[in-house]
Each structure stands twice: as C-alpha cells, then as structure tokens.
Symmetry: C2
DNA sequence: CTCTGTGAATATATTCACAGCC
DNA sequence: GGCTGTGAATATATTCACAGAG
C-alpha cells in the first residue's frame, strides 16, 4: 500500500494560489450579478480594484478598457469580459466610470463587510504580516495573534497581545475573526488549521508548505514562497536548454 | 484620453502567481522531456517535489498515483498526466518509484543549479524572508540584501550586510545572484525592478502590489497578500448571498 | 468614429475511461 | 488484479471580431 494513512482523514485538500485544483465547483448559486465570474476572473478582481483606486486617487473619472487593461497587466478583451460579467457599468464610446466601478467592485470583494483577521504563528513571517500595513490599508483588520510557543504568549506586538494557540477558540469567539492566517511551521499547520475550523473560521490563508485538509465549506489559499522560487527557477532554466539536459540525462 | 501615460513605457506587464495573464507564450522550445508541461502543471511540480521528499524521508519506496495525488491535493488522473509529460517513470501495476522521481523532478525545478537570491527591501517582510529557513532547506541561498533606506544600509542581518539599493548592480555582479526578491513598498517597486533587470536578473519574485513592467525575457511572479485575502473574502461572501445583494443593489 | 458588450472561435486544463503492461 | 499512460471528452479561460450604443 505504500503511502499508508494518507496525510489526513478528511476530504481532498484545497490548494490555493490559483494553482487550479479539482475544486468540486460550487454550482452557480450566489451573488453573481450577470453571469457569474469565473474563478480566474475572481483572481483578477483585486488587481482591478487596486488600479481603480489608483486612478481615482489621481482624479481620473473615466477609463477605457485599453488603458485600464494596460495598467492591470491583462488584455483589453479579457478586462471587458470580466467587468461585463460583473454587471458592467461601461458606456460605449466613452469607457468605464472609475467611481461607480469602484463602488461596485469593492463590495463584491467584501470591502464593506467586517474583515477581521487572526494570525496564528508569530515567528518571523507572522510578525512581519502583523506589522504589514498593506492589510489595513485594504480594509482588513488584524484583531488577534496566537502562537503555540509559551515563550511568546503574553508578549505584545504593536497593540495586540499574543494568545496561546490552545485558546484559539476563545480568542476567535471574543474578537469575531472570520479569516485565519496560518503562519506556523509545516509540522503544526494541520493542527492549527483544525483549530481554526473548529472555531468557525471558514477562510484560511496558509503559508505553511503543506496540503491542508479541510471540510468542503472552508476556503484555503496557499502562499508557498519556496514554490514560487522553484517555478521561477524552472522557467529560468528553460531559457538555457543545454544546462539541464546533461543533468537529467545522467 | 483618461489614463494618460499608462504606468510604464515598456511592454505589457507580467502578472504572476499564476493568475493567467496574456503571456506571449514562449513557443515550445526547451528542456521538456516528453510533451512539454503545461503552465498549470509547472505550478504543481513544487508540490509534487515536496510530497516526494516527505515520502522519501519516511522510507516509502513506491507510491501509487492515487496515494500520491491524495497527498498532493490533486486528482490521480491529473497527477499521472503531469508525471507522464515529464517523461514518466512509473511502472504499471506497481506505481511510481519515489527515489527516481525525486531525481527527475529535482533538476527540472533547478535544484541542481546555482540558485542565489538577492532580497531588495529589508523592511518587516524582507527581513522575515531573509530569516525564513524554508528557502535554504529547498536549495535557495540568500546571498545579498539591499535597501534604499540609508538608516539600514551597513547593518547586518544574520551573516549578511545590507547594501545600498543604489549599488544593486555591483552587489549582484559580485554575488552572482540570479533571482531577485522585491520586498519594497509599492512606490519603489518598479524602480527596483528596473535595477534588477539592468543588473541581469531574469527571475523576480515581487511582493509589491503593483503590476511591474519588464522586458519579455524576464520572469515575474507576484505574491499579493492583500489580494489573497480579498479573494477569500469574495468566496466567504458568496456563501451568504443576502448580505451583499443589499450592498450592491444600493 | 470610438469604445463597450458579447457570441463565436480558439486555446488550455482537467477528467474520463480504457487499453496495455506488470 | 492493480495500476500506469494516454486519447477522447469535457470544462474553463482567453482572444477575436464585430454589432450596436453613444
């Protein structure tokens, strides 16, 4: 039988970062305005939002799909299709109204909701994330920190105290966090993930290089930094065919 | 004209993190053993590699596509297809030999090459990355740090001194770094990116939430942490349709 | 005439399902 | 019998190209 008790007893795991995994595809229910957004389009919305905010800040009122697309790093046709499936607010012959679009896309990405985040694992990465201003500036509020290491619990980081990981349930209940960031080492990641799920968190951003098992209703996105570098390394190497042929053929 | 001089004069920009962008598709030259790997498959290789290393560590010698796929969080058919396009080392009726597969996939991801990394931007995130053990354990060596802030330059972080960002060219030439990690704030990111490219770096991992412009031969992958949270927020919200309908319809 | 919205065409990716080998 | 390798079928995503609104 080889692999033995495969990593965990639950369902198949979610692999995030848009590495397309056989997600069972939640059939088109939901909020989708016109025809629901494709998964790929959803991944582009945050970029669109950022570009719109930048345009707005510069006082731009209207933008064509060509200029918008250029700034977002996509093709104009795709951008139009994405916006169109959002319900489309463009005017033919003119372009898209920056303000209205912002007001439409923002809520779609939950900007108007409560978005409280708990970070578990306050090592180097966890504390960097806790201090990172980018979350706050985009409407996410870090409301709690937790770590399994007793040496850290009780300490403060900015305005937040670090709670013991064992008390995750209570901390989440008290703070109302709905998003969990898992910045623990690989060995603890599944356990922490389980605790988050147990406490009712349904969105998890996972930095640990492991495939987490979660129930279907929980969304996991993985950020695997080493994997990113490996993918870059792969491409770098394709540019110099000879180098590897020797290695692999050996 | 609206957007005006769109963000940068160079070519269209690369959006990484596998958000599939209209990459001009480098036509199938290169190292690919059998029929070349799809971009999606390439993104899964690091996961496969990690699983194989774990199996190897546990002393597992052979693994079936079903068990392997389960551990990697993908479907067995996809895993077989991916491995098959790598040149396939499986044995029918038996499974895949862990050791040989490792020896095959490793080099494909550049594990046997020199993989020297320079980190630019030694703020919270940059220093967390510099201290992160995960890179080293997967064969990446951080050989240089740089920052534009004069208050930081000259300081040390672990065994490395922080160089002034202005000297990136020299630092890269001296250390032979081929991969650049851009952990600078959004406002500086394009400038740093330009400097990296100028210095001959052709692989960039970008954490700044901006669309970088680079020449065609340079590969960029973006890790946008806020975007990840926004995508989670989007999905979380789809689970509660009513909440947003009110917001958007307003 | 410009620029959006969108069906149709194409390109990619994933899954099925089964032939063929161990 | 069990399991891989892979063509064919399906599902997703992207791009084209043009009708039609302003």
């Amino acid at each position: 039988m080889a692999v033995g008790t495969a990593l965990h007893p639950r369902s198949a795991a979610a692999l995030g970062t848009s590495l397309p995994v056989p997600v069972p595809r939640r059939s088109a229910s939901g909020t989708g305005r016109r025809n629901s957004l494709s998964e790929a389009a959803i991944g582009r919305l945050p970029v669109y939002l950022r570009v719109l905010q930048e345009l707005d800040r510069r006082g731009v009122q209207t933008v064509s799909s060509v200029d918008f697309a250029l700034a977002a790093g996509v093709g104009p046709a795709m951008l139009r299709k994405d916006l169109s499936s959002l319900g489309s607010y463009g005017t033919r012959g003119v372009g898209y109204p920056v303000g209205s679009l912002l007001a439409s896309i923002g809520p779609v990405l939950g900007m108007t909701q409560d978005r409280r985040v708990v970070i578990v694992g306050v090592g180097d990465l966890g504390s960097a994330l806790a201090k990172y201003g980018g979350f706050g500036s985009r409407g996410f509020q870090i409301v709690a920190l937790a770590d399994a290491d007793p040496a850290l619990t009780g300490k403060r980081l900015g305005s937040l105290a670090i709670s013991p990981a064992q008390e995750l349930g209570r901390v989440i209940a008290e703070t109302g966090a709905t998003i969990g960031v898992n910045a623990t080492p690989a060995a603890e990641a599944q356990q922490v993930c389980d605790a988050l799920v147990e406490a009712g968190v349904t969105s998890i951003l996972n930095f640990a290089p492991v495939v987490l098992s979660v129930p279907q209703h929980v969304h996991v996105r993985n950020v695997d930094l080493s994997a990113e570098l490996e993918i870059l390394a792969f491409h770098a190497q394709r540019s110099r065919p000879a180098a590897v042929a020797a290695e692999v053929g050996r």
